[in-house]
Structure formats: structure tokens, C-alpha cells
């Protein structure tokens, strides 16, 4: 079976050129990296019906609506979330979040996340890279 879906990381090409998803997974999201490293290859070869089990729609967070976004979750004492938007079979990872009790921190706003998705679609060579596992 070939891949049905492909994950892409957002590249901050207008800033320091960093892969913001990879940086988060090696920084604040370090304790969730092994979880996402295992779940993404599974989802890449999964049918859409399976995605519905594991990718949850984003809701309103601190008054900000994340309409159209979904998240992968690593749940525990601290919850880690990878936020993405799907366009066809492309999965654009654009934001990350940590959630502990009532404290919810995301590294970007929904508006910035939407802008990132548009950049990844309009200029793939500059703003996106297939997910990097290191």
C-alpha cells in the first residue's frame, strides 16, 4: 500500500528559515516527539475513515476559533497537540500547543496558522518541507 497522505512542516522562510514543527518537537514538545513519530507514518497509509478516529477537530481556545483545523494529540499529565489543516491528501502542520489544566499555550494565532497554510500552498518550495523526523 502506498502513502495516501503526506505531512508537511511549515518553514519560517521569512524569519530564521527554521522548520517550526521540527524545532518544537525538539524543544517544548520533546516529550511528545516519539508519539508523533509513530503516529504519522500510520496515518499516512490510513484511509480517511481511520483519520476520523485519531485526528480531532480543533475548537475554540481562549475565545479564538480554530475553524477548519484539526489536531493530533498526545495526552497525559501534560497534553501536546500538533495542529494542522488538510487540503486533499496534503496535511499542513502549522502550529503546536501544550495544554495543562486551564493553561493552553499555542505558538501562533489561528489567523497566523491560516496564513501559513496559504503560504505552504502558494509557495511550496519556500514554505514547506515533508515532515522531518529528526
Amino acid at each position: 500500500m502506498g502513502n495516501e497522505f503526506t505531512f508537511y512542516d511549515y518553514i519560517d522562510a521569512d524569519g530564521d528559515g527554521a522548520n517550526v514543527i521540527k524545532d518544537w518537537l525538539n524543544g517544548d514538545g520533546k516529550d511528545a516527539k516519539a508519539h508523533f513519530t509513530n503516529i504519522m507514518p500510520q496515518l499516512e497509509v490510513s484511509a480517511p475513515a481511520v483519520w476520523r478516529n485519531y485526528a480531532k477537530p480543533m475548537k475554540t481556545i481562549k475565545g479564538q476559533k480554530w475553524h477548519g483545523f484539526q489536531e493530533l494529540r498526545k495526552l497525559g499529565k501534560v497534553n501536546y497537540r500538533l495542529i494542522f489543516k488538510m487540503e486533499g491528501h496534503n496535511v499542513f502542520l502549522v502550529a503546536c500547543a501544550i495544554h495543562k489544566g486551564q493553561n493552553y499555550t499555542t505558538n501562533v494565532s489561528p489567523q497566523t496558522a491560516l496564513k501559513r497554510v496559504a503560504q505552504m500552498i502558494d509557495n511550496p518550495a519556500k514554505y514547506r518541507r515533508e515532515h522531518e523526523y529528526n
Binding site: A34, H35, T37, I39, Q42, S46, V50, N53, G76, N134
Partner: protein, 173 residues
């Protein structure tokens, strides 16, 4: 493009961090088993309720087993699941390179392997025999008979065609 080989190299690089290595062991099981249960249930067309009934557990527990955040499987649970699905179960210590391969190389039959009966139906045994026999009229008759027995049994649920019956039909044909 991030080929399988690139993914392998990248994950290997991450494994240099011992904390990641430890978590990778846990997560490979938690995520892998959750996806396998869901995929096997789909392949065998079982609802959560039906599988829960077969295993004599409550449906919410089965639902939890399909959640990659669950991670509390016991060997007893895994053995019961293997029996319910009629598939094999491997629990082995392996090198990390093997674990990485299993994490990223995921053809359908790896995620949801065929049950014993499905393997039979797919004529694996007959095809293996075909590959090993020298062509002769008698050998070919045996192979064709094996194949037809498998075919009839796969197409007519609840029946078990015997070799004698198939042979008789062949002679009459």
C-alpha cells in the same frame, strides 16, 4: 521527497537521544497496537460491540484500546485479541533498526494481517506447493485440487469442500 530511507535515517538520528529511545519503545507499542486493533476490526468487519462481546469486555474498554494514548495493554489482553482475530502474535526483543523499519514500513498486511482462514483462502499453501513441485500430470492434479479446495471454501462461507469431492468433480468434468 522524504523517502522511506530518509525517514529511517532521520528517526535513527533522533534515537541518539536516550530519552527519545525509551519513549519510542513505549509509543511504538501504544500507537501500533491501537492502529492494528482498529485495522483488524475493519478487515474482519467487526463492530466494536461485536468484538467486545467476543472478548467478554465492555465496549468502552475496547474503544480505549483503539486509542493511541491508552498504552496500558497487558500480554494477556494482546493474547486474547490475537485469538479473537485468529492471527499470530509476536512479542520479541529486537534491535532498534528493526523497530524503526516496523514504524515506517507499513503495508496493509502488516497493519492488519490476514486471519488463518484468510491465509488458507488466499491459497498461500497451494502456491507454495506449486513453486516447489516438479511439473508432472500427477503433481499438477494435486496442486489444482488444493487450489480448488481453497477457492471453494473461500467463496462459500460455512462449507468445507473436501479433496475427495473436488477430485471427483474434476474426474467428472
Amino acid at each position: 521527497m522524504n523517502t522511506t530511507n530518509n525517514k529511517r535515517k532521520q528517526i535513527w538520528e533522533s534515537l541518539h537521544d536516550i530519552e527519545f529511545r525509551k519513549q519510542f519503545i513505549d509509543e511504538h507499542i501504544s500507537v501500533g497496537i491501537a492502529f492494528q486493533i482498529r485495522a483488524l476490526r475493519d478487515r474482519q468487519k467487526l463492530t466494536q460491540a461485536k468484538l467486545a462481546e467476543l472478548l467478554k469486555v465492555k465496549q468502552p474498554l475496547l474503544s480505549a484500546w483503539e486509542n493511541p494514548n491508552y498504552g496500558k495493554y497487558t500480554l494477556k489482553t494482546l493474547k486474547e485479541l490475537a485469538k479473537a482475530f485468529d492471527v499470530g502474535l509476536l512479542v520479541r526483543f529486537v534491535p532498534f533498526s528493526t523497530l524503526v523499519d516496523w514504524a515506517i514500513n507499513l503495508p496493509g498486511d502488516v497493519i492488519a494481517p490476514p486471519s488463518f482462514n484468510e491465509e488458507e483462502d488466499n491459497h498461500h499453501v497451494a502456491l507454495a506447493t506449486l513453486a516447489s513441485v516438479k511439473p508432472s500430470p500427477e503433481n499438477m492434479k494435486l496442486v489444482v485440487t488444493d487450489t480448488l479446495v481453497g477457492f471453494v471454501n473461500s467463496k462459500v462461507p460455512g462449507t468445507f469442500a473436501s479433496e475427495a469431492l473436488i477430485t471427483e468433480e474434476l474426474i467428472n468434468a
